[in-house]
């Protein structure tokens, strides 16, 4: 038999039963007899939500059935299947209400309809996803044990479980504790009871989603997007159950069944699975539900207070040292189907097998998958490993990538800390902090030395190289959007950073990738997308969209901004700048001072003096705060000629940036060893004339450029 016929038949049967029950009731009590479920203001909520009409008496039940009849098309189209599915649920609700005419028909363990009070109590954790989802389980599982295991698995994840049919008896047989307060809610035996579950969904949509009764489209959208529910239906399935399932699928609630007879299976909607032990996982995946991970499951304490702990050699059980023996940590983005959530595997010997005090290699490969995951986030996650692993009591971690060093203390070892617990930490923290983008996370800990070496060279190194290449290939031109950063506004209310691939935040701490990740993780947070729209001047890096962005995020304090000029509407500074550059008029260039530099500059101002003039979110043409990394950027005051304008910076700073600076100067101007042409405090710390003489001697390019002003 085709699915169409099964659903249509099931629908017809349910309708016939409802019609019969209503007619019988009218015969007995008359049309005016009031009907309703206990303690609800939403009448027959499923019907009310769909139609906007409240059914309050038998006459209206009859009218309701007449309406439902119009919603039961029989053309062999998918749409008819869905409509009939919903019609089945509505008919079931009418059938159920007739049972309440003489009082609550549900006695014993089954609870039937849910009251509004219960619904509100349930609704709050539901809409905030403290209860990740509602599982509706229909009919008896193949065995009592499977029934118990399945329900327990949902319950342990904090889900709310509704039960209809044989499974209730199975749990009873196992003496399983059921009831509203333990979040296992037995509704009743007959499949028509499923209407009470639909009623819950409909009321949540109306109460919490502000869905207007009768707004069919809004209701379906709300369920589809917000109300997390799925159905587990055990075979053999009857027609009525399949018809109800069609309604569930229409609302976006996937149906998972072990009845392999019915055709066809539909990815993410109708899943056929013989093995009941896989129901939990399949159901959650089908409905895109992530179970929140909050606690870190390790035998030692975990808190930021342990971050600064140092494990001395004598207290150490075992050490992993990337500088001596191949070690690394790596995050890799995978497809959702490729990995298994919370799978933690140790490849190689356990910590017990290492000699006390020995030096070894270790590798963590953390594979993550998620619909919103992007490979660009990998380094952002990786940079957190240090803090996370350090957070465990008795564990010390330094470095990153393949230059890590980890020590495990004797105390931690004795408390039971083992290699797999690294995996637990990384798993829990990634899922906890990056929930927004990570759906699945799997960790492999390698303690096998040969594997560590092989993977370091074959996998990790390639990844790091690729990432570095990506970073250096990212340019302002080849990305579509930039990001704002207003993290500093608490101190500097009108300052807005615009972060681009070639211009990181002036604090030096926020790169374009960081800003991008921050935005994805916290869409309403400090980093917002700025598109490149309405070009005003390419050379200056001026766009209408940038002006709009700074105007908006500075709350009107700023009107215009350019990305690449320090003379025309330069970017403002908050006060966290790593460096400040300012015009040195006599050399026709700029001098740069970094925060650590305490002395005088040829500008006649020290760093603090420069800072007091440049900070606070005000535009000061000729002066600008920036990150150290920006000094080697091709975009550094590009509008005024670029880095060849740099005439002075403190020696220490020069040493840090020389390599990049020289490379950029070579590429842009063909100048070798440009850094050597730049003055520093060993040439002069305050005398513009001495600086000028030095620059002349070196043939510094700034002297030959157009006047800066």
């Amino acid at each position: 038999m085709l699915l169409f016929d099964i659903v249509f038949n099931g629908n017809d049967k349910m309708y016939a039963e409802a019609e019969e029950a209503v007619n019988a009731a009218i015969a007995k009590y008359g049309e005016e007899k009031a009907v309703g479920f206990p303690e609800t203001a939403y009448a027959l909520a499923a019907y009310y939500a769909e139609t906007g009409d409240k059914i309050t008496n038998l006459k209206e039940c009859k009218a309701g059935l007449e309406y439902i009849k119009t919603q039961m098309p029989r053309e062999r189209r998918l749409d008819s299947v869905f409509k009939s599915g919903v019609a089945t649920a509505l008919a079931a609700e009418i059938l159920e209400v007739t049972k309440y005419i003489e009082g609550d028909p549900y006695e014993g363990i089954s609870e039937g309809a849910m009251t509004d009070a219960q619904l509100r109590e349930l609704g709050v954790p539901l809409v905030v996803y403290d209860i990740p989802c509602v599982a509706l389980i229909i009919h008896a599982a193949p065995s009592v044990q499977e029934a118990v295991d399945l329900v327990k698995s949902y319950q342990s994840q904090g889900n709310f479980v509704c039960l209809v049919g044989g499974i209730i008896d199975q749990l009873k047989e196992a003496n399983y504790n059921m009831g509203f307060n333990v979040r296992v809610y037995p509704i009743g035996d007959n499949i028509s009871c499923a209407a009470h579950a639909v009623s819950v969904a409909s009321r949540v949509a109306m109460v919490f989603g502000n869905i207007t009764p009768g707004d069919k489209v809004g209701l379906q959208k709300y369920h589809f997007e917000r109300f997390r529910c799925f159905v587990n239906a055990f075979g053999p399935l009857d027609e009525k159950t399949v018809a109800c399932g069609a309604g569930a699928i229409y609302y976006g609630f996937p149906v998972i069944t072990n009845d392999m007879e019915y055709t066809p299976s539909v990815p993410k909607s109708l899943i056929k699975l013989a093995d009941v032990s896989k129901f939990n996982k399949a159901s959650l995946e089908a409905r895109n539900i992530k179970i929140k991970v909050t606690n870190v499951d390790i035998p030692v304490a975990f808190a930021t207070a342990f971050e600064g702990e140092i494990i001395r050699r004598g207290d150490m059980q075992v050490e992993f040292d990337g500088s001596r023996i191949d070690s690394f940590e790596l995050v890799q983005t995978k497809e959702l189907t490729e990995i298994e959530d919370h799978k933690i595997e140790v490849v190689g010997p356990e910590l017990d097998e290492f000699e006390q005090g020995s030096k070894n290699g270790i590798a963590f490969i953390v594979e993550v998958a998620g619909k919103k995951m992007q490979p660009d986030f990998e380094p952002v996650f990786e940079r957190k490993f240090h803090a996370w692993i350090n957070g465990a009591e008795g564990i010390m971690h330094t470095g990153q990538r393949d230059m890590i060093r980890i020590r495990v203390s004797k105390d931690a070892f004795e408390a039971g800390f083992r290699a797999k617990h690294f995996g637990e930490i990384l798993y829990a923290k990634i899922k906890g902090e990056f929930e927004a983008v990570v759906d699945k996370c799997q960790v492999t800990v390698y303690t096998d030395q040969a594997e560590c070496s092989r993977l370091r060279h074959e996998v990790a190194q390639a990844s790091f190289d690729k990432r570095d290449e990506r970073l250096s290939s990212l340019t302002d031109e080849n990305v579509d959007v930039f990001y704002t950063c207003i993290l500093c506004q608490a101190f500097s209310p009108s300052h807005v950073c615009i972060v681009t691939p070639e211009r990181l935040g002036l604090c030096g701490a926020v790169s374009w990738l960081d800003a991008k990740a921050t935005h994805e993780l916290e869409p309403d947070g400090a980093c917002q997308v700025v598109e490149k729209v309405g070009l005003i001047d390419e050379n200056l890096g001026a766009y209408e969209s940038f002006n709009e962005a700074v105007h908006k995020y500075s709350m009107g304090a700023l009107e215009r901004i350019t990305m690449y000029s320090i003379m025309v509407d330069p970017m403002t500074s908050c006060g966290c700048f790593e460096c400040i550059c300012g015009i040195e008029p006599f050399s026709n260039g700029v001098a740069i001072a970094n925060r650590e530099y305490a002395g005088m500059t040829p500008l006649g101002m020290t760093f603090p003096e420069l800072a007091s003039m440049t900070g606070g979110g005000v535009q000061t043409p000729g002066f600008m705060g920036h990150g150290k990394h920006f000094i080697g950027s091709k975009k550094f005051m590009a509008a005024e000629g670029g880095i060849q304008r740099i005439v002075w910076m403190p020696k220490e700073l020069k040493d840090v940036v020389a390599d990049r600076l020289n490379a950029t100067a070579k590429e842009l101007y063909g100048i070798d060893n440009f850094a050597d042409m730049i003055g520093d405090e060993t040439v002069t710390d305050s005398d513009p004339e001495a600086l000028f003489a030095f620059l002349t001697e070196k043939g510094h390019p700034a002297l030959g450029l157009d006047p800066l002003m």
Binding site: E121, V124, V128, D524
Partner: protein
Amino acid sequence: MPFNQKPEKFAAKINTVTIGNGDKAIALGGESVLPLYTFDGPIDNAPKVGVEITDLGVEDIPGVKAYYEGCGSVADMAKKASEMEGADFVVLSLKGGDPNGEDKPTEDLVAIVKEVVAALGDYPLVVEGSGNVEKDNELLTKVSEACQGTNALIMSAKEENYKTVGASAGLAYGLNVGAESAVDINLAKQLNVITTKLGVNPEKIVMNIGNAAVGYGYEYVVSTMDRIRNAALSQNDDTLQMPIITPVSVDAWSVKESMASEEDMPEWGPAEERGIGMEIMGAAADLVSGSHAVILKHPQSVATIAKMIKELV
């Protein structure tokens, strides 16, 4: 040549939020001018003054203790607070629920809320949670249930628990939601945005942007409020147009200036007078910076601030 007056009137408007029911209900906000600038345009809803009591019974604050003498229950105190000269609403703090303090069970606190609700009837009520975000998740959900129909204001939803508090107070039980952030315009804005996204009606949100006692980093409060009111009115930023409520008393009564005893600081004079000064000056500064409601404890402060508002608006 006469002085050329240039009134600063804005097209944008602060939202109006109503607390309580019937004749006794109060409205916060609704104006299109800067705080107390009646010379620029009308302020239909004058700022309001709330009187704070706690579930822990009468506090040992001079003058406050005396006022509640004879009250046998928190409900009695609530009634008495509502009768205080100058009071517009009552604030019930459930700080006894703080797990780091008394750690009273939720049921006990909810029972108190129910008694207070019964004692006050339609009179406007604001309920403050325990201050602990975890506890408030559960506590404020139950409190919201107990306050159903009162149109009370439930404080506070913070970034960590806005979902639960917003969903229970704002969605499930149709109450007003207090959105609490820590003295930063962007945090305040972000919380309003996400609370609104959750489905809470913006006209049901009152901001508590955080506070400090005067002399204790109060400049951040001033600047945050200045900026919020400016953004709301001149930038027409509808994510910041919620009225502001500011709890003054807790900070005012917990600094050295109001706590040091007269024995320790004889030249300072009675602690009561100093505490009143902290409350009055904090409240006046909050009101002129942008608060639509202030929360106080001492009868003298309440009467004085109410009088000041009356004279100004």
